[in-house]
């Protein structure tokens, strides 16, 4: 039973690879940012050259994603298990899934303009993971040795990725519909307005966000149920209002509210977009503040 082999060298390589991916994300992010600023230019010649830059950016993003994916897989191999058992691993795997879903969705829907957001977000997450959350490979504590780790956490990561992209779309929607953006005479805001004008129309943004959110909600519902089943096995009760359970419930309820808002007169549009953003903030809060500072049974950050 004691046959787990940990490979610290491989883990070190994995970390280097992930750091390499961060470098490529940085270039992708710069390319997208530059692309946006060119698109926002008042000069036609500048705008015309922008689409090449965008293609470069997408290629860089795809390259970063591949390197990132290799880093994640190496981390899993180095630990002889799924690479999502502590906050560091959850971060690198989760952000990989975000970029993977984004790239897949890109082949179906034109959401290119979200690329800046995705590249920036992943850079931020990986940076935090590498500097604050990093822990050496460790074997799993007995409570985590369960196939529910594979199912429950993987689905939670997937749900988070869908909510994440939806939140990006909702943020764009909020800016696009904001009165101060529409009315302001400031030069900076005017540039910003031109960038926003490149995004899909408002109602299209809203609809896209809704579609990512419903997938996220179904996956989150599953996460909640799977978590309860696992808790019944590991903690002798399926629900005990442990801090993590509380926040899973809160997030679920906020998104249920979001879905209702979309069907309630006076609540679709801006208010529902805000609810989607609040829901995602709650997810980030659950993952960072609750993990690190709240007392509870889910102490798997691996940090002391």
């Amino acid at each position: 039973m004691n046959s787990i082999t940990l490979n610290a060298d491989l883990a070190a390589i994995s970390r280097l690879v992930v750091e390499g991916a961060m470098l490529v994300y940085t270039f992708a992010f710069l390319a997208f940012a530059l692309h946006l600023s060119q698109l926002a230019s008042t000069k036609k010649s500048v705008r015309a050259g922008a689409s090449r830059l965008e293609r470069v950016g997408i290629a860089l993003l795809a390259l970063a994603a591949i390197i990132h994916g290799v880093g994640v897989v190496l981390r899993g191999i180095s630990a002889s298990r799924v690479p999502w058992a502590n906050m560091y691993e959850f971060s690198i795997t989760g952000s990989f899934i975000v970029v993977a879903i984004f790239l897949i969705a890109l082949t179906i829907k034109d959401i290119r303009l979200l690329a800046t957001f995705v590249a920036g977000f992943n850079l931020l997450i990986l940076g935090t993971a590498d500097t604050i959350f990093y822990v050496a490979v460790k074997s799993l504590m007995p409570a985590l040795q369960s196939y529910w780790l594979v199912i429950h956490v993987l689905v939670a990561v997937l749900a988070t990725a869908f909510f994440n992209i939806a939140a990006g779309l909702s943020i764009a929607y909020i800016f696009k519909t904001a009165k101060w953006v529409k009315a302001s005479k400031l030069k900076g805001v005017a540039t910003f307005r031109r960038i926003l004008a490149l995004f899909p129309k408002e109602d299209k943004l809203e609809r896209l966000a809704y579609r990512f959110n419903i997938i996220g909600f179904i996956l989150w519902t599953f996460t909640l149920i799977a978590g309860a089943i696992w808790a019944e096995r590991a903690w002798h009760r399926y629900w005990g209002w442990d801090t993590k359970e509380v926040w899973t419930f809160i997030i679920w309820t906020i998104y249920a509210g979001y879905l209702h808002a979309n069907a309630t007169r006076g609540w679709s549009g801006k208010r529902s977009a805000w609810l989607g953003i609040v829901g995602f903030v709650a997810i980030l809060f659950n993952f960072t503040v609750v993990n690190l500072f709240f007392k509870g049974l889910h102490v798997y950050s691996g940090l002391k």
């Binding site: 799993l140 579609r211 909600f217 149920i225 009760r237 309630t264």
Partner: protein, 542 residues
Amino acid sequence: MLSSQPSSEEVKSPEIGLLGWLRWIWRQLTSMRTALILLLLLAAAAVPGSVFPQRSADPNGVTAYFKANPALAPVLDKIQLFDVYTSAWFSAIYILLFISLIGCVLPRTVAHSRALRQPPVQTPRNLKRMPAYQAVEPTGKKTQDALLAKAHVLLKKQGYRVALEGDSSNGSVSAERGYLRETGNLVFHLSLIGVLIAVGVGGGLSYSGQRVLVEGESFVNNLAGYDSFSPGTFFDESHLVPFSVRLDKFEVDFYRDQTLKNKANAGTPTDFRAFVTTTLGSTGEQSAGRVRVNEPLAMPNANVYLTGNGYAPSITIRDASGQVVYSGATPFLPQDANYTSLGVIKVTDVPKQYGIISFFYPTVGTLESGALTSLYPDAAIPLLSMNIYQGDLGINDGEPKNVFALDVENMTQIAGGKSGVKGLRLQLGETVKLPKDLGTVTFDGLKRFASLDVSYNPGGVWVLIFALLSLAGVTTSLLVPRRRVWVRKTETGFEVAALARGDDPVLERVVSELIAELAPNKKASKKVAKSAASPKQKVEDE
């Protein structure tokens, strides 16, 4: 869709004041907006339970909070901030929410079951106003003649409910699909009621009891058999099926680092196994079992879980005459990852009572400060250290005392600390003299103990069934598109229109594809540029 929203009754006559008010309140309570606000309130109300320690999940945390904030804690307690999830205000929100849910879903269930038995709605006069619309003309006589029959067959094959209106020379086909969307929505909401009931009833019938067992010890499944026990509201001792559990052996695996490459991981526990023998009270049938974390042992009306473990050093104390005054394996509570453990021994069968506060180090080492520590969780170089206190142990005043604590306030230290006598240190097998001619203490052997939790919740399986039903319901409701499609003959050609009820990503495509099949060689002419209507139809608009 919401039949609880009659709009024609706005004008109330004064005679039915009370009834009118009640109706108004009911209508408000069962409106979508109220449901939404109650949901958000529920989310907000759940937050404090993660900020303040809760009696149900963390009773020690509550005690500590009272100690740290003696002025504030009673105030917070008054507004039930230590019992958020059973508090009056939290309960009020979810009870209102569920009343609203019932009031909202029941009428919809009735309406939906009626709609399921009715043909699709009549084709609207002006199809051009629909969110997706295309027309083809002229089509030629052959296509036109076959049109409606063909549309009828095609749509039916695609799972639409279809009605032919008018005659085949001048009429239309009206079709609707996706009734499952509303069915899923209703199943989802109704299952939530099931979840709530199963949680309530199951919780009332549930129990959980805790028991610490040293290797070789056993306990019986009755109230006296447990160190602590928490029953649900409807629990009765007769629910406990008689059986006993003996802990034969407890095994732990620690990660060993032969290569010295993973120092950080050395000593991490990788597996805990409790081997037990269970005996059924009714038949006396014995069987061997194993309990692991994540792998409880199923007994009749009970699951046996492994929740903790540690060392239980066997200690024998003899008085000056050689008479045994204390003997047994005492569980020591682990204090850190390397199992530095704390235990308390109370010696009462002597003229002057004394107590021992003892630390156990499975693999002893010395810190720079000279203090002892444990370097590794397995018992490689086991050592016991003891400080001894003489005085009243408070055993005789009848109050239950924590076996892991010794109140030394009114006692005199006679070994260790500033007592002038060195604390005792014992290696495995060693016998050491007690101070003040109290006799000797022997570290005879080392056992392990397991903390077991015996729990039962008959509602669990029902909660799961309803939760899975609601998952299936919500998935269906969110992913099955519901839409109406119409095909109508015009003078020289035909027109096709579609309307989504709820989100429908492929509305336009449905129309184009239908046209392509009905008139394979023709190009649709009038394409309405307007994209589909708002993403979600407002329920209350219907």
